[in-house]
Symmetry: D2
Subunit: 375 residues, 4 copies
């Protein structure tokens, strides 16, 4: 499927941290070429002015979104790293502007069959929350606004390749999971599918570095507010919750409600979730670990650690890996699962590229085998 030509890719919203990490990873990707980058406030500037560490590479200048000439730019794939709400508008616009086959009403039922027919259309990888929630009413409830592209939503595939790999391969629109959902779902989905844990008593205590909050100018993101300190936020109200519940419900075959409490930790990158669950009757901690080991035996980016080795964010800094392990709780019948990722890579840009690879028919691991950076 690969010829010597490189795939032409674009990044909408390249001036945030997620965009920067997309650029970092795509520069090193052997089969793609970045031909378009947008950035509203920074339009007209070279990316090296916005992110000095990206100076010196052969990259296009940032342009404003409205300047993009959609058909003319001839992208094979486009990453949408825009804020939610904006994202749905922009994606809807580009689908129409390129007369995208995804607009065909029938396509959702027959994607597999029509794949050839629509070949040539741009593949859209959305990193925002806009197409993650299948139920647009849930979207409206949590994001405080009506979804403006509900007709497109059903055509989006939830881009967690470990569980939706085949669908992603056929997809033209992938909604990349949030960072917290990625770490949580990799830990929990196999267990619920296999009935190892109960669906009604899942507590996720999550800790994240600050880059997840983006480059926006908020007092809460200032160095002084965060360094030498930590605190929870959004208790019972974080928008990643319905997303986690949606996917866990699929795995469990039943609706469920989780407890999810994120914390902000003074570090740039890294996300760790300590997950407390109740074993299903008759199940043991070893059963839980075995299911995870089976599930991820051949997965390139998920590792179940041996023995009592402890997942730590420094094991995955800058890499697309997730490390997991399972521990007995002291309370009988309970189990603790620890999951660590780099929020900007497996939790965002790396996973987006993993999806792109699948959508473009490239080996899934291409450009994503960075060894973690420690120190």
């Amino acid at each position: 499927m690969l010829d010597s030509r490189k795939f032409r890719v674009g990044i909408l919203g390249a001036s945030g941290y997620t965009g920067a990490d997309l650029v970092r990873l795509l520069i090193a990707h052997p089969h793609v070429e970045i031909v378009l980058m947008t950035g509203e406030r920074k339009a007209g500037k070279p990316i090296g002015e916005v992110f000095p560490h990206l100076a010196g590479y052969d990259l296009p200048d940032l342009i404003a979104l409205e300047e993009v000439e959609w058909p003319a730019v001839e992208l094979d794939a486009v990453f949408c790293a825009l804020p939610h709400a904006t994202s749905q508008e922009v994606i809807k616009g580009l689908l129409h502007a390129t007369n995208h086959s995804l607009l065909d009403e029938m396509i959702v039922e027959t994607a597999g069959d029509l794949a050839d027919a629509i070949k040539g259309d741009v593949k859209v990888i959305d990193l925002s929350a806009d197409f993650r929630l299948r139920n647009t009413e849930t979207y409206a409830e949590w994001y405080g606004r009506t979804h403006t592209a509900p007709e497109i939503q059903p055509k989006a595939v939830y881009g967690l390749p470990e569980f939706y790999r085949d669908a992603v391969r056929e997809a033209y629109l992938v909604a990349c999971p949030g960072c917290y959902p990625t770490a949580a779902l990799l830990a929990l989905v196999p267990l619920l599918k296999a009935g190892k844990i109960r669906a009604d008593d899942i507590l996720i205590d999550a800790k994240s570095g600050v880059s997840g909050a983006g480059r926006s100018l908020k007092e809460n993101n200032l160095f002084v507010e965060i360094a030498e300190a930590m605190h929870p936020y959004g208790v019972g109200a974080h928008r990643h919750m319905p997303e986690i519940e949606q996917e866990l419900a699929v795995a469990a075959g039943q609706d469920l409600t989780i407890s999810f409490t994120p914390h902000l930790v003074p570090m740039n990158r890294g996300e760790l979730e300590t997950i407390y669950a109740k074993l299903s009757p008759g199940q043991t901690v070893s059963d839980v670990k075995e299911i995870l080991e089976q599930t991820y035996r051949d997965e390139p980016f998920v590792t179940v650690l041996r023995g009592a080795d402890m997942p730590a964010t420094r094991m995955v800094r800058g890499s697309n890996h997730c490390v997991l392990n399972v521990f007995a709780d002291r309370i009988p019948g309970r189990v603790i699962i620890v999951s660590a990722i780099d929020n900007l890579v497996k939790g965002s840009s790396g996973q987006a590229i993993q999806n792109m690879n699948l959508m473009l028919g490239i080996d899934e691991k291409t450009g994503l085998m960075q060894v973690p950076m420690f120190p």
Copy 2:
């Protein structure tokens, strides 16, 4: 009770971080004078060589423990900031060396009555774990060694003043709580006492700064290992667990088993616990908050925050305060309590001084009203 004379106090083990914070706080205490400091490896040195920030104060040089001439030094109070196991040996030794009334077999039953009789004996405030566990078999199990002063153990008071204030006032030996237990017990004891939450489903996800690990030379404590990273440790095995269970059992009136998972966070000071509990039948989140508010209304060092204000370690940096708040969990019938302290102050040295104040008949708040330092 106070005359113009200052109380003479000593610090055994002044060369660790706990010792340093004791010195910091005692220098500013208007009614005490530090007349003795020991430090094994650093014996013979001025404290300013060991801790340059403490240079320039009028303080005695560090001496070795075995050089202390117990009766001659005529202490009113002594802080024991030695490692566990060492602590019990040293305290036993000093009690014998000073022919301390606490060795009187009868004293445990009649402490109150005998208080006058033994007046003049040194008050011992132990910051180690050695006298915290009432059951010396539990001690042996968790600390991997037989307790060598079991006859003294029953005479120790657990030094959490908010719950044991009267006993501390009469005590000659106080075992200061560990940092994790302090944050946990202030949140949970009133709730179990009042029957607001169930005793069989308490999960404590704890996060701590690194100073709690002490100044010992371990790879895990190196800057590079900790900065820009985080991870859990001692899952299901941390020695603060039996201590928390002991005190919660007293409050609940029944034995119980908790889940407790500590995490190391890249900051010097600060400890935050996110506690997940199940409401007792018929109880609400408001009931929980009300009990905490009632309990701590007049407590100088514990604050229940208003509304949805979020406890954060930066609110208590360098101060002896604990801040608490209560949140509804999304899982019906569950509640989340967040508790933050400075692990070196309310979690260690500050609380030790709070106990000393009570034992010496000084106003409990004396020398402990530092405003938190932020930034």
Copy 3:
């Protein structure tokens, strides 16, 4: 001069980090009472909402500047922690509103004699740059705007108590030095006065924590931009340069030009300057050290370290101290002086209170003897 009544003090601009540290220190000050705090964007809020670590103290709510009823509030002293340019307007306004004796044209020549006459007028301690530069043309050049209160400028005393103590005692308007100038001048003024170093070859390499940049929402102040990184800024262009030169010129008795390069370091507090100078003919490194030792022998807040002890910011964290030491350079005839302060205390709020103490006739050290906080 002290009666049992507490002095009434106000803080204009209490919602920045400098304001917060003023509040922290003034709460613990035994002879003052904060009766006024202003904050524009946060007007109407309790300070505890703006700075949660300051909740729970008996403090007035923030009000807008224009709501202050100047004569009615009856302040003994007022701190002005407003941005430059704003500061001169506000101070001019409050002098007029209170019909302040400082407006008397003659007062500048005869301040000492008139001190009694104007007793009762509010003492103004300005923490901005507005009254630091005696030459308002220099001000205009470096701050890019004409000074709007040039008639008041001559009446301001430069508030570095170690060199202007007597003038501060008599002053009604004190311009507190910038943080970088404080660390530099304490190191250099005595050497230039004594002719120990040459005036034409002074290089100051300065490093500062981030709180000095204030709580303003700039990309450069975000956690992610600063953590795990460092860089110089404002090379050859920092506004503290003319201020340093002004005071060094006074000491040297001649105009001079310095090299000054500040760097941003990933820490909240702390400032360290490594100063490279050339010895005057015939002078030695020992001579340099001796002059500093003589100068500061009786100063409560400046310490010259012994031997080769190295100044470090952790020695002065949270305290009003400056630590200095002197080292031989390898280049013959050169000397290195290292100076460390806490930029928010001796570099800002602490020094402001030191000035207030002098202006109000209180012991200079009052409320400023905090032991440094380490860890």
Copy 4:
């Protein structure tokens, strides 16, 4: 020169941070295979136990140095990341054990001619200080011990490829520069060679992250000692000084003495040097910048920034790049050069691999084109 076979490389001392970064970079190198790793205290362990972020790769277990069977292991290249003093002993031993042609007395004069003759001998890349100083008496003076392999010293090439590229290509023993010298020499050597600055007035104020101090258990390397703080160290006494002077003397064509003051900054990686120099008569700041631009125009790893863009460590985090820029000082006739590298990459492991590439006849950039990681 490359066939499909991968070069066999070994790492002596793989259990330190430098070793870890060698492994990180070599795993991603397309033409080499790590077949040997030693680590004394950790001998017998898989590298993944020593550095969990390196688990899961196909790497040999650590063995003790004395277990290495030198001829049998058949290395093409070996990295020596051992402590100084140890390094010279080990390298001497391996040369003898492999009957290395480098021991031939004549080789030093005729290396170029004999290159073919000794083909097949292992290439040695030493990351320690042992072969950096050409004068073994200087070595003895600064390292406090007599050099035990003075006969090998003359055969070592100083491995700064930007200045010694051809010699490195022919070399069998390369002494990689220290991190501080790398950043300093890239900035200064071209200027001295071209006579743009004076040789007698060079001051280097250096700031480094903590990984440079290694993984050794010293109190000074503990998180708590370093976080939220900074300080200079080794003023006038750091061992990188004679190394910098040696190479600057070559460039200047005369002996010289520099001023060099390193500082420890709370970050893992990164090194920044602010260099103060005096222009030679008739030279301007533009001349200085022009020389650097000319020198590095075609260098893959050194970038002179445009305009007033400021070098910052975050521009080179994890990458083999050095960024430089030049600024006018306010003192007439002086110039400031700022140089930033990642101390573990261009300052150590990356540069070592750059040397290896040259020695093995591979493209110099191979395996070293990582995009810097920010955040």
